[in-house]
């Protein structure tokens, strides 16, 4: 067994839309679903508002992982903002991998207002994966 060293608690920033995933997170609360305190939510009206620079700023500001969440395909409150988020995510993910940032550190999930349980599951799963990767360091830096 490992020594009783304090388990690494990653810091995960979640960008969530106002209409689906923020409500799902509230629903998880109402259901008293327990999940890791690692995640911090930032609310935008739509996942399409999330500028790729926010994700980069999160990593450079000390986040160990970034979660981007919006309404399911065809369910966007603004009809297509989640598709814009998906496109940016796909491109940004490629760029991050070229910078040497592991895939598990940046994740996109569609979580609807009623999916409090899914929100909990995603946070727990992402926390586990990022915990296994360890603290984020660019290019294995200091």
């Amino acid at each position: 067994m490992m020594a009783q060293a304090k388990q690494f608690e990653p810091r995960i920033v979640a960008f969530v839309c106002n209409w689906c995933t923020y409500i799902a997170a509230d629903a998880a609360g109402v259901a008293r679903a327990r999940y890791s305190p690692s995640v911090r939510l930032l609310r935008t009206m739509c996942s399409g508002r999330v500028d790729p620079q926010f994700v980069l700023a999160a990593f450079s500001g000390g986040a160990d992982g970034v979660l981007l969440c919006g309404c399911h395909p065809r369910d966007c409150h603004y009809s297509s903002g989640n598709y814009k988020a998906l496109r940016r995510y796909t491109l940004l993910k490629k760029m991050l991998s070229q910078l040497g940032i592991e895939g598990d550190r940046f994740r996109l999930e569609w979580i609807s207002a009623s999916e409090g349980e899914k929100f909990r599951r995603v946070v727990e799963d992402m926390t586990d994966r990022v915990r296994r990767l360890g603290p984020f360091k660019l290019n294995g830096g200091p």
Binding site: R11, G29, R40, L42, S112, S114
Partner: protein
Amino acid sequence: MTTDEPKIGVYVCDCGFNIAGVVNVPEVVNYAKGLRGVAVAREYKYMCSSPGQETIQKDIREKGLNRVVVASCSPHLHESTFRRAAESAGMNPYLVHMVNIREQVSWVTKGRDEATEKAKSLVAAGVARVARHSPLERREVPVRGEVLIMGGGIAGIQAALTAAEAGHHVYLVEREPSIGGHMARFDKTFPTLDCAACILTPKMTAVKNHANITLLSYSEVVAVDGYVGNFKVKVRRKPRYVDEAKCVGCFECIEECVYKTPKFSSEFELGLGKRKPIYIPFPQAVPLVAVIDPETCIEFKTGHCKKTCVEACGDRNAIDFKQQEQFVELDVGAIIVSTGFQVFDASRMTNYGYGRYPDVYNALEVERLAASNGPTGGEIVLRNGKKPSSVAIVHCVGSRDENYNPYCSKVCCMYSLKLAHLVKERTGAEVYSFYIDMRTPGKGYEEFYHRLLVENLHLIRGKVAVVTDIAESPREEGKLVVVAENTLLGGVVRVPVDMVVLSVALEPQADKEQVRRLLNMSCSSEGFFLEKHPKLAPVSTMTDGVFIAGACQGPKDIPETVAQAEAAAAEVLALTSKGFITLEPNLAYIDKALCSGCQVCIPLCPYRAIELDRSSMVAKISDVLCKGCGVCVAACPSGAALQRMFEDDQILDELLGVLS
């Protein structure tokens, strides 16, 4: 962007034990006091209460605060409360920011230290963000008084009458040829056993006669555009092939149809009765206008019918085989969704033999058999026309069952008791009710249950395993045998009966997804439309100006449905009575000095709100069309597209705050 030095007040709510039971609130308050720009930080038991709000207001006035952070519940619950409080103390409401330390911290975090640390970092983020806030003005837009109601069951009818009485013009859209919904199919209603038609049909007639109601039956809403107060609605009117304005509902065309007797399965009678190709679904239908089914009408199929119906109609000339579908555009200020429910398809539970044994019925079918205007004139009889001498009623078919619907459909115990009473009254049969739990909360409901006990209803507590026609003893010959475990006495019982009634669950309508998307609503996990808040806003939805009533929101009985319909109508009146509403100022705008005119943003906008101003060659965003998603803001390569309430610097400072 304001030049004034931030003087921030931070208010951390205990929410009784909800927050303080998990988060060390004094520690969060102390931490907040050390944050940049914070002039005062306080703890209070219930921030949202009057004394809580007054504390904030007093500090704004006396300490000259120019920013406020409230760390409490979800902003979806109380953001407007705290904005209003600040506003009445003379502060611009958009200088208030809420931090969610209940739903997203104390309710979900195990461990006091972890929760306290998370609360602190969220408060730091809120303080950093609010320092970047600037005063904003709300937009005022006019609100139309017209109301669209989707679905003409008892919920839609009641809401229509209430709103129309208050002077609003109501468009009531119903997809069936007649309004009335499920209630029109019932004979009696529980617990009073008053006749459903005596309650419903006068209301249906009132809808038809009301000067403020336009009834669009046999029609469906196909598109909804616009926003609260100013919706544009497109309605498809299906062809009836009978002119509504000319038909007088005399039934002569139906009598004279070349089919001398009704031959085709009647939708209204759930297949238990027959109709002709030209028909009126039931005699009390509203509107009382015939409709032709082109699938079965000989003129449509061959073009060589004698058209005796046209002859019978004579001068009235109401029949029009060339009628086409039409599209109607409506402008409305508010929408009430009352699209109702469907019953569980009992053939999915093959062990109960529905669809296989002719004398296994679902409860809705037995409602029709019991109805005096039904296919048997109110006689509850078997398929062979004979009265049953014994009847089994099986509760919870498709409800409270992990394989189908885990929820309780709420009305089945009561309607099962009602049907038990009606079966006994009409046939004198012995009635056996197989139930899991008897649930009869409601005014006069428990009393009704006791009445049935006195009427000698046989109650067997246990879920039915199977309904079979395989006899194991002479007394089971020719009978349907209901096999169940009697969980009170212990042991398996076999009850031979003539008729089985399945008390089927109430489910969301099959096309709930389309309706949900049409109006940008959410569904709960079982598929019923989701209210904004179960207690604070039970008939509102997340889409402003769209309200819900009746069983489309969840299983409910008639009294509850009517109450919700009136509540929805009241919400519509509250929304429209001022003549204008205020909208959030979270719109996108362009910094002209930065815009290069590249036009990347223009095709991205889902509302076509952006255009290129030809004179200056920079993008221009229309305040009226923009809905504030911010997609263009994230896309602008030169940082010229910006969004109020969600400015880049606000989000980035909040981000650094949560990471601090």
